[in-house]
């Protein structure tokens, strides 16, 4: 069934990759496809920021709903699908055996994405929960938990049934992300939806969840990919690897406490914000370890390494900004402004997504058994997406500075603040358009690569192929 791979990239394809090809490519393709709606939502929402009357007649697309649609499609569409594919692949490769329970992964992926579509329709019609990063309507949430658990099963099995006894940093991060997300999601569901806590405690709980999405889920997924890929592309062992456990446990145990920094000065206990300052500063250990471990990527060649280099730099930068903006004196200028939006953009697009892109560029040739179909599209995507990220972060940050300075002075009217932000917000819109175009290039390239790759990777045929390769000799 599997045609013999015929080009250079295939040299690195292991039987493990061949066996997991269908399900993992399904996740990757779904994830990358989600970038298109999420990019369209982001573009529309950013146009509304400087031209508020844009699409104003359409109740489905008010600015609030568009923002919720955008972040939901981005997090639960793009990041979740691709992150899971990366984690499962890393665990399979490190485990040394082909993935088991892959039909669970396929079923989970289908239900996850169907649930997400339903959730987006729900948000557009006004059923969002209004909690940032947790906007999926309550009726799809249980489905999402089960679907995620189903997808994660094969990863946890691959880890517990691994060939070698010892573990590697990529293991820890991947397992943590697979294992913790359902717990975190369920906990948030209980205290926000089923048995809602009272008054402003909801804001604290929502802040805890939103921070957990970053520190317990997406950052571990991205780091799992990096820990696996960086030694491969740089051809060197990770430097200062002995400190990796410190970085891991620091992120896991301290990270989720830092969510309170968005509530500085708000109607919550003062210790919430103080705790956020302390824990944000502690997180510097994590960022230091990541910087030390990933030093090797600075000189590594290849597209994947370029993306990961960008992603790691953005990750470190956003870590520093988190610490800075958690201080009350700084938060006074940045709180409630576009500077916070810029930080989110830098974190989720500049850091997480770029590391994911790096992993995608590394993964797809090894799963599909052939190189990317067009080097030009790869270069185009790389250039445009970097331009887009830098442009949108710069635009939002500039708008944030203007807004922060204006808001502090009561004599500056909201109207003049708005006028002052118009230009940087236009820059942001251009950047969002660039990102959308860039990601369309990736979609085209990915589809072309899959279409021309080999007979088995035509959508469904590959997905439900019996696991006959398990019996095939591993050579």
């Amino acid at each position: 069934m599997t045609t013999a791979p015929t080009n250079a990239a295939s040299a690195e394809v292991t039987p493990i990759d061949r066996q997991a090809r269908g399900p993992l490519l399904l996740l990757l393709v779904l994830g990358v496809l989600w970038l298109v709606p999420s990019g369209i939502f982001a573009l529309l929402a950013s146009i509304q920021l400087h031209s508020p009357q844009f699409l104003t007649d359409c109740e489905w697309l008010t600015h609030g709903r568009l923002e919720a649609l955008q972040e939901t499609a981005f997090l639960y569409g793009w990041a979740a699908n691709v992150g899971l594919a990366i984690a499962l692949w890393v665990l399979a490769r490190l485990g040394g055996y082909p993935l088991r329970a892959l039909n669970w992964t396929v079923a989970g992926a289908i239900f996850w994405n169907l649930g997400l579509v339903g959730g987006l329709v729900g948000i557009a019609t006004g059923d969002m929960t209004t909690f940032s990063f947790f906007q999926l309507p309550r009726y799809v949430q249980p489905l999402m938990v089960f679907a995620y658990a189903a997808m994660a099963i094969s990863g946890v099995l691959a880890w517990s049934g691994r060939r070698t006894d010892s573990t590697f940093a990529a293991h820890w991060y991947a397992v943590a992300a697979l294992f913790l997300f359902p717990w975190m999601f369920l906990a948030a569901e209980v205290v926000l939806i089923w048995l809602p806590v009272r008054g402003t405690v909801q804001a604290i709980a929502a802040g805890w969840y939103a921070q957990g999405v970053w520190t317990l889920w997406l950052a571990p997924l991205a780091l799992a990919g990096c820990y696996y890929i960086i030694p491969k592309v740089s051809g060197r062992v990770l430097s200062s690897y002995e400190s990796a456990p410190l970085g891991f446990w620091c992120l896991l145990s301290v990270g989720a406490w830092t969510g309170g920094r968005h509530l500085i000065g708000g109607p919550v206990p003062a210790w919430i914000a103080t705790m956020a300052v302390v824990t944000s500063a502690l997180m510097l250990f994590h960022y230091l370890v990541v910087a030390l471990n990933f030093r090797g990527v600075a000189s590594a060649p290849g597209t994947g390494a370029t993306f990961i280099r960008f992603g790691v730099s953005a990750y470190l930068l956003v870590g520093l900004l988190e610490v800075l903006t958690s201080f009350r004196a700084v938060a006074l200028h940045t709180q409630f402004t576009f500077f916070a939006t810029a930080q989110t953009q830098l974190g989720y697009y500049g850091a997480i997504s770029m590391m994911f892109f790096g992993a995608v560029y590394y993964l797809v040739p090894r799963l599909a058994g052939r190189a990317w179909s067009s080097a030009g599209l790869v270069a185009g995507h790389r250039g445009l997406v970097m331009l887009g990220v830098v442009g949108s972060v710069a635009g939002l940050a500039l708008a944030g500075f203007t807004q922060g300075a204006g808001l502090l002075q009561a004599t500056v009217s909201q109207g003049s603040i708005f006028e002052g932000m118009r230009l940087p917000l236009l820059l942001n819109t251009c950047a969002q358009a660039t990102l959308l175009v860039a990601n369309l290039l990736l979609v085209v390239n990915l589809i072309r690569t899959m279409a021309t790759c080999c007979t088995t990777v035509d959508a469904t045929a590959g997905l439900f192929r019996p696991s006959m390769n398990l019996e095939a000799p591993a050579s």
């Binding site: 006004g126 604290i204 896991l252």
Partner: protein, 212 residues
């Protein structure tokens, strides 16, 4: 980290600790907060909002107003909230005890609305709100879907209005839908006029600073 169950247990402990500390900890502190009973006034604050205002909060939530408006006034010496007329005291947790889903918000592209129903110097009237929501402005979207043009049967309704620059169409009137009326009632219900014991000291500390 070779021991699988122990590793998973460790992961679970990390997430449980942060959940216990942040969420359950603040719940223990604020979860039993009750309205403050003022003996002199003979009633408890904050007062429950009317049914229509409670429905209006759902409209506020499902339109996503919180993506541009906060509902949390910071203390007078932290930011310009007071000077902008958004509220004379900081918002405290007790302000929100009756709200099923507080909309604190995280972005101030628009003004804070915590005290919208007691805004200084003038409080907007219901008709002002209708006009604004129907037509929008250079920096606020219009929400025409919260309104309907309907045929006048008998007398013109009390809540009908005519946006500036529009000529009246004879026999028809423009009125807010139920959602529009709820939203306006909710916005007007947003007041934090009562000073709780815990919301006072901050004003005091400002005076101390001022005398330095």
């Amino acid at each position: 980290m070779k021991n699988g169950p122990l590793f998973l247990l460790g992961l679970l402990v990390t997430i449980a600790l942060s959940f216990l500390g942040v969420v359950i900890g603040s719940h223990a502190q604020l979860g039993n907060l009750v309205p403050f009973y003022d003996d002199a006034e003979g009633q408890a604050f904050p007062q429950r909002s009317s049914g229509i205002a409670a429905r209006g909060q759902l409209v506020y939530g499902d339109l996503g107003c919180a993506s541009c408006h906060t509902q949390q006034v910071r203390r007078p010496d932290y930011g310009s909230d007071q000077a902008r007329g958004w509220g004379d005291r900081q918002s405290v947790a007790r302000d929100y005890v009756h709200q099923s889903r507080p909309q604190l918000g995280a972005s101030r592209l628009g003004p804070d609305l915590k005290n919208f129903g007691a805004r200084k110097p003038v409080v907007a009237s219901e008709l002002d709100i209708f006009n604004f929501l129907f037509s929008g402005s250079a920096r606020h979207p219009a929400y025409p879907f919260l309104f309907e043009t309907r045929k006048v049967s008998g007398e013109v309704s009390a809540g009908s209005f005519l946006p500036a620059g529009k000529t009246p169409q004879s026999g028809f009137e423009l009125v807010a839908t139920e959602r529009g009326r709820s939203l306006a009632a909710y916005l007007l219900s947003l007041t934090s006029g009562y000073d709780y014991p815990e919301s006072k000291p901050v004003v005091l500390s400002k005076k101390v600073e001022g005398t330095k």
